[in-house]
């Protein structure tokens, strides 16, 4: 059992402000430095995922590893959560809901699951939300300082693929690489399909990206990369989590035009599944050559 002593005004109101009031009231004293996720599930206790494990929180705000003592979440709480996340404007987030998540200010992300409504073989809506997963985003300025000399070859930007398991900081690294290159005076174009790299809010990035970054958000990666290539004459295009054949075709086109590409790929442990996919699709050479 672990009790956190730190009591102060709540940091990250963009994140906590989207959590229903009943649960938010219990989170006043938690340690946001170690917090990764807050998970709300109908009829179950609120779970807090920290770097060192999963904990539950009592009504008094005390952390416990006994889920029976945790503050439970009702369907009404989840409904209120959806209202807060969408600012009472579900219609404005219907595309995000189809993809299963909504990005909040400062890049925090809320995953949504429940009873999916399928039309023409695709998810059109999620009704009766069963769980919300609030993922806490962090900006780590200087995260890429140690790798910049590997990315830059004199004035040239090397094509770079970042490979790691989930939740290891690929997006954080990409964001900081974009900031560093932008500060060096390179024209950086970010294609932010899931709105996590720049987290645009009303057209303004929520993170520090320097003065030379152009962002295209919420667009299919392959389409977005080619659009930025035509529209913004970038020195480098940065995008997150490639995987589809169309992504590699777009990368090949970008390389033909002499523009560099920096991107990331999911993999697990010592046998990177992501690499297998890339090799199977014949894209690894196009990415790294």
């Amino acid at each position: 059992m672990l009790t956190l002593a730190r009591e102060e005004n709540m940091e990250g109101m963009e994140f906590f402000g989207a959590i229903p009031e009943k649960q938010r009231a219990c989170l006043r004293s938690i340690d946001t430095d170690r917090l990764c996720e807050v998970r709300l599930r109908a009829g179950m206790p609120m779970a807090l995922v920290f770097l060192d494990g999963i904990f539950y929180i009592t009504k008094s705000g005390r952390l416990t590893d006994d889920y029976k003592q945790g503050v439970t979440v009702s369907s009404g709480d989840l409904k209120r959560g959806m209202e807060l996340i969408t600012r009472s404007s579900v219609y404005a987030f219907s595309e995000d809901i189809k993809n299963g998540f909504i990005t909040l200010e400062k890049g925090h992300r809320v995953g949504i699951s429940g009873d999916a409504v399928v039309e023409n073989g695709k998810v059109s809506h999620i009704r009766s939300v069963q769980s919300l997963n609030y993922r806490y985003a962090r900006e780590v300025i200087g995260a890429s300082d140690g790798v910049m000399d590997r990315i830059l070859d004199g004035n040239r930007i090397k094509n770079t693929l970042i490979v790691s398991p989930p939740m290891c900081g690929k997006t954080t690294m990409l964001r900081d690489i974009a900031r560093n290159l932008s500060l060096l005076g390179k024209k950086v174009s970010i294609v932010d399909e899931r709105g996590e790299i720049a987290a645009l809010m009303r057209g303004v990035p929520s993170f520090s990206l320097g003065a030379n970054c152009d962002v295209l958000a919420n667009v299919n990666k392959a389409e977005g990369m080619l659009l930025m290539l035509r529209a913004m004459s970038p020195d480098v295009i940065i995008t997150d989590e490639i995987g589809g054949k169309e992504d590699f075709d777009a990368i090949a086109e970008i390389k033909k035009r002499g523009v560099s590409i920096i991107t990331s790929l999911h993999s697990f442990g010592d046998s990177p599944d992501g690499f297998d996919t890339v090799i199977r699709l014949g894209g690894i050479g196009k990415c790294l050559e």
């Binding site: 209120r80 959806m82 209202e83 807060l84 969408t86 600012r87 009472s88 404007s89 579900v90 219609y91 404005a92 219907s94 809506h125």
Partner: protein
């Protein structure tokens, strides 16, 4: 002299009551008209602009002087849409309960479904409000002048009785 002043005050008070009653009928129709116009604009903002509900309500309320919309926008994040609409309706003194019913029904859905459902819900509310507005205009045409005349005549009658 005192009788004359008293009579004048009774006539004035009677007339004021008549005019206020007549004015309430007129304002009910005007209020419904403004809400209907606001809902039409909101429908456009939702279906084409996909504007956030609070931004859309505030901007429409500000531009078209619809206090109810501004009140809803102000309370939206704190109270949620249903409670915000109920609070705003509570401040509308000229609307009757039957005028408020379609807006309360809209509060159950507003903002919380996709664009198509939003447009349908707003159209349903607008249609009911149009009936209410027609009714309010008819009542004003029928009773407005009557209330004013009754007020003045009632005041005069009171004054005569006093004198």
């Amino acid at each position: 002299m005192l009788r004359i002043i008293g009579a004048a005050m009774i006539i004035f008070a009677g007339s004021m009551i008549g005019f206020l009653k007549s004015d309430a009928l007129k304002k009910r129709a005007e209020c419904l008209d403004r809400i209907i116009s606001g809902l039409n604009l909101l429908e456009t903002d939702i279906s084409y602009g996909k504007t956030d509900l609070s931004c859309a309500l505030f901007s429409i309320g500000e531009t078209h002087k619809i206090g109810m919309f501004k009140t809803i926008a102000k309370n939206l994040s704190k109270d949620g849409i249903k409670s915000a609409i109920c609070t705003a309706l509570g401040e509308e003194e000229y609307l009757l309960e039957r005028d408020k019913a379609p807006i309360k029904a809209l509060a159950d859905n507003l903002g919380m479904t996709d664009c198509v459902a939003q447009v349908q819900a707003i159209k349903r509310a607008t249609s009911s409000l149009l009936d209410g507005k027609k009714n309010a205009q008819e009542e004003y045409a029928r009773l407005g002048k009557l209330y004013r005349s009754c007020g003045v005549l009632g005041g005069i009658l009171g004054a005569i009785v006093l004198i």
